[in-house]
């Protein structure tokens, strides 16, 4: 199975004079694992995800996927954003098949794959519709199908459900996790929703800010599919909340090389 991710001492600043956004991030994710990055707004979760995807080059350290250093975006590690960002001049089917078109797949291959994926996300009957006629949840399902079309080994989710209503979000959380498990896709989810992290992940990394860094890791050893109301779910949720509350008190951070970063208090 492919899709292992190794984030090796990644640090980032947007310019030499700017504040350090990320410091010495070290994460290792096995192929097929589902992990979440959770933290307060501005702690650098999305920046880290952009670095993993190759959309952003880190100031220090590197990211490896299946042992190869990530230097640019690839259809093999696809990213989904908070906005579905569908192309409105294309039909639903054309949106889903776009990555395959870029890779030079034949019309027949594209038609077959898009048909399968639209069936998987429950939008088979919308194939020829305009994307502008879809609801927010349906648009995110199309974006998911589009991300899956190129058969990625890794899928990177940047708060993709945050703009959706509770019911749609819950359904999509279940579906995305199930699809990743079924297809053996490694998932990295950025979220600030603790329930979502527990619902969708095997491991949750808690991030603190100033500079952004990993301060804790919680293993989620719940059976699939998961239920919000189970005692075990609630216990893990409490563990995460405790770790999350810890981010309010942190004032400074000793990096792995022994240097100390000046960190502002994030207490409200």
């Amino acid at each position: 199975m492919s899709g292992s991710i190794s984030v090796d001492f990644v640090g980032h600043q947007f310019s030499e004079t700017a504040e350090i956004v990320l410091a010495d991030i070290k994460i290792s994710v096995k192929a097929g694992q589902l992990v979440s990055l959770i933290g307060r707004s501005g702690c650098g979760k999305s920046t880290l995800l952009h670095i993993i995807s190759g959309l952003l080059t880190p100031a220090s350290g590197c990211v490896r996927i299946d042992g190869k250093t990530v230097t640019k975006p690839s259809a093999k590690w696809n990213m989904m954003f908070q906005k579905a960002s569908l192309f409105p001049w294309m039909s639903v089917q054309e949106n889903v098949g776009l990555g395959l078109k870029f890779s030079g797949a034949s019309k027949g291959q594209i038609a077959q794959k898009t048909h399968e994926l639209l069936e998987l996300v429950g939008l088979k009957e919308k194939a020829q519709d305009s994307t502008q006629s879809l609801s927010g949840g349906q648009q995110q399902r199309v974006a998911l199908a589009r991300s899956l079309a190129t058969s990625p080994s890794v899928i990177l989710l940047d708060e993709p459900f945050s703009a959706l209503d509770t019911f749609t979000r819950s359904a999509l959380q279940q579906d995305v996790a199930a699809i990743c498990k079924q297809k053996g896709i490694t998932m990295v989810l950025v979220t600030h929703d603790i329930d979502e992290a527990v619902m969708m992940s095997d491991r949750v990394f808690v991030m603190d800010q100033n500079p952004g860094r990993i301060i804790d890791e919680i293993k989620v050893d719940l059976a699939w599919p998961r239920k919000h109301m189970s005692q075990h779910f609630q216990r893990i949720r409490e563990d995460l909340l405790t770790a999350f509350k810890g981010t309010e008190k942190t004032e400074s951070f000793r990096a792995l090389d022994g240097s100390r970063y000046k960190a502002k208090s994030s207490a409200a």
């Binding site: 960002s85 192309f87 990555g99 870029f102 190129t150």
Partner: protein
């Protein structure tokens, strides 16, 4: 449930009827017809005033009657077709060049901030110069009159197309670039599959503006040396005091301009992917 529905129907009925009257035949054909009738009436009244004034009676052929008679003669003789074809060829060639230069440069200055900063002042400066001000330079620079006229039309069309294109590029949702890069788009695929479809309605809006300007510039541009085209025909009619022919040519210029704008409007709608209410 059915009571609510039927109640709503009673309330909505008159509104729907009123809406259908507004959006039905009258709004599509009736109102424009009334506008045309008013214009014809003003024209006829002006012609009557001229004809009844001894000082102006030499210009009586500007009235609708002689104009339409001259128009029929022009059509029957085949002169009008040749005149229109010559003018349309020049406008078409000028537009083509304006499009070929304006779209790529517009994409460049819309996409690359440095290019925009470098080009902004010179382009705004050149844009403000009337295309007709280039006439003497065009006459010196080009071997044929046709080329000189086409150059003037290019100078009129390139700016609206370029700035509309650049505006369209700036409006592109940045996340589309991220998604396309993520899906493995090459530079060419990015232009072909993402940028061009995204900006096409803006480009066509620029073309629509350009057609309007080109059509206005065409007539004075065709005063230059050529012996064909609508501008030449107007000049010739004036010199020969054939005011009925002159008015007929003016009528033709207006009709063709209107038709060109209508075609452009259809193209703008065709390429417009923004959701319609």
């Amino acid at each position: 449930m059915s009571q609510v529905a039927s109640g709503a129907e009673i309330v909505e009925g008159p509104r729907l009827r009123a809406r259908s009257m507004v959006s039905g035949f009258p709004s599509k054909y009736g109102y424009p017809l009334v506008g045309i009738m008013i214009l014809l009436a003003v024209w006829w009244f002006g012609g009557w005033l001229i004809a009844t004034n001894d000082d102006l009676s030499a210009f009586a052929d500007f009235a609708p009657g002689p104009t339409f008679a001259a128009l029929i003669d022009l059509i029957r003789s085949g002169d009008l077709t040749q005149t229109i074809v010559s003018s349309l060829f020049r406008v078409g060639a000028g537009l083509l060049w304006g499009f070929a230069i304006g779209v790529p440069v517009g994409i460049l200055i819309g996409y690359v901030l440095v290019a925009m900063r470098v080009a902004n002042v010179p382009f705004q400066f050149l844009r403000m110069i009337s295309p007709l001000a280039w006439m003497p330079i065009a006459v010196l620079a080009f071997e044929t009159w046709d080329s000189a006229i086409i150059f003037l039309i290019v100078m009129a069309t390139v700016w609206p197309i370029m700035f509309s294109t650049s505006h369209g590029v700036k409006r592109i949702d940045p996340s589309w670039f991220k998604v396309a890069k993520n899906l493995g788009a090459s530079g060419t695929q990015m232009v072909h599959r993402i940028i061009l479809p995204a900006i096409m309605s803006d480009v066509m809006a620029g073309v629509r503006l350009a057609v309007g300007v080109a059509w206005v510039v065409l007539v004075p541009a065709e005063y230059l040396g050529v012996t064909s085209g609508l501008g030449y025909a107007i000049n010739d009619a004036r010199d020969t005091l054939a005011y009925d022919t002159l008015a007929a040519i003016v009528l033709v210029i207006g009709v063709i301009g209107y038709l060109l704008d209508t075609v452009c409007g259809v193209l703008v709608s065709r390429f417009n992917w923004h959701q319609k209410d």
